[in-house]
Subunit: 261 residues, 2 copies
């Protein structure tokens, strides 16, 4: 039996320490191909490039691992990997990250790392996005690598059940202070105080995005609660955004319009 084929991507590009750590773990499980952006793409969400062409360059960055950089967004990278670079091959797993920062709660929708992972799951590829809550370039990846290894091992042995996408966040703690992992749901939060206003040399205003994360509810089954209590959070996630519980009530809208149109 051939080795599993693992696609590794991220949103920070080839020179982020997190992708190197992830490749080291991925290599233990199969053949690794890296397709990552050629420039930092944090906060790119599910953006795709439709108004200009994309480029792919093979690069020699990692030992024993074939790697390509791509001129687009993280989602473009996954699309190019699937349609061009690994065309006609079956990708067994996509790993995205390890991001530096939080992809927990509402951050999943802004995250290029998670959007790349989600794009793979849209394509039918089981996929894991990983992020370390340690924002620094010098972050210690011992704990993230340890838990990434455990989760990937489980995925190859058992699959993910009904899910095809996991959002994994690892607290910024030494490995012996981490309590374990928790399967959670996405916490209900958002960002407030989002811009710093300043003046350019011509006296014109400009606005730089910043913000403070605000939790809406304190829910013990949420990813934010798990992380605050020293657990690795694992949220099974999906790209079907339908609010199913709201459908029945909205049938009234259907009736009111169809009855009078």
């Amino acid at each position: 039996m051939s080795k599993p084929l693992i696609l590794v991507t991220n949103d920070d590009g080839m020179f982020a320490p997190g992708i190197k750590a992830l490749i080291e773990v991925a290599k233990e499980f199969g053949e690794v191909v890296v397709v990552a952006p050629d420039s930092p793409q944090s906060g790119q969400g599910h953006a795709i490039t439709i108004s200009k062409p994309l480029r792919i360059n093979k690069v020699d960055v990692f030992d024993d691992v074939v790697a390509y950089e791509c001129s687009g967004t993280p989602v473009d990278c996954v699309k190019l990997a699937k349609s061009i670079i690994l065309k006609d091959r079956n990708i067994d797993l996509c790993l995205s990250g390890i991001n530096h920062g939080s992809n927990a709660s509402i951050n999943i929708i802004y995250s290029g790392t998670m959007s790349a992972a989600m794009e793979a799951s849209v394509e039918g590829i089981p996929s894991i996005g990983l992020s370390s809550m340690d924002y620094s370039f010098e972050a210690d990846f011992t704990a993230p690598k340890f838990f990434a290894r455990k989760i990937i091992k489980y995925a190859f042995e058992n699959g993910f059940g009904e899910a095809s996408l996991l959002n994994v966040n690892i607290p910024a703690l030494p490995i012996d202070k981490i309590q374990g992992i928790k399967i959670c749901h996405q916490a209900d939060g958002n960002w407030t105080q989002e811009f710093i206003e300043s003046k350019d040399p011509r006296g014109e205003s400009y606005y730089w995005m910043t913000g403070e994360f605000k939790l809406e509810t304190h829910d013990e089954d949420s990813d934010i609660f798990a992380l605050k209590n020293g657990y690795v959070s694992v949220v099974p996630s999906m790209h079907d955004l339908t609010h199913y519980e709201a459908i029945d009530d909205l049938k009234k809208l259907e009736k009111s319009i169809n009855g009078i149109s």
Copy 2:
């Protein structure tokens, strides 16, 4: 009682016919403020601008309506509207569009129009994203305006129930051929054959995104089915991406890792 405050945005910018049509309808219901991108932003998904500053310019484009163009993505526009332009005011409704093209099925995750609407709903603002399936610049907006008016009227009179975000797509049909509206769920589909490869004048390859939409299942309760049968599709949508049904099964992962770490 003061008039409702309605934020109008889109992903195609101020000069798209769709936003003009939407403003005309919105004005019937309250005070309209427009905040839209200063350049086309199709396919920007939930991208935000974090590595450079943003600009806002007041512009005189629409009769009797205050409008601002913003240098960022559709999501940036909503964030700037909430935090800067309409700071300290309560936004009663956000309308995004009317987009030219389909935001049905998986297209919701790539759509700048729908991501702007989703951002408003994250901020607690009831929000409707609208798209006409007629891709042409000369699209007839009679039917989209008719149904936008009906849905907005319902929203102000009844609310959306549990939902705070609606994804509305209008088939490219004359109004008398449209069968009514259907409350649906997001169809299970994706894109295949996604790139055209070509050579630049130096002989180097480049890749232009294209693709063919492929439906995974033919489900009569889906938005694609509704649109194919001449209905306006309305999908209540949400930003909680948790796959709740998958949580129980994944507790095995939690046990397997916590038991041995």
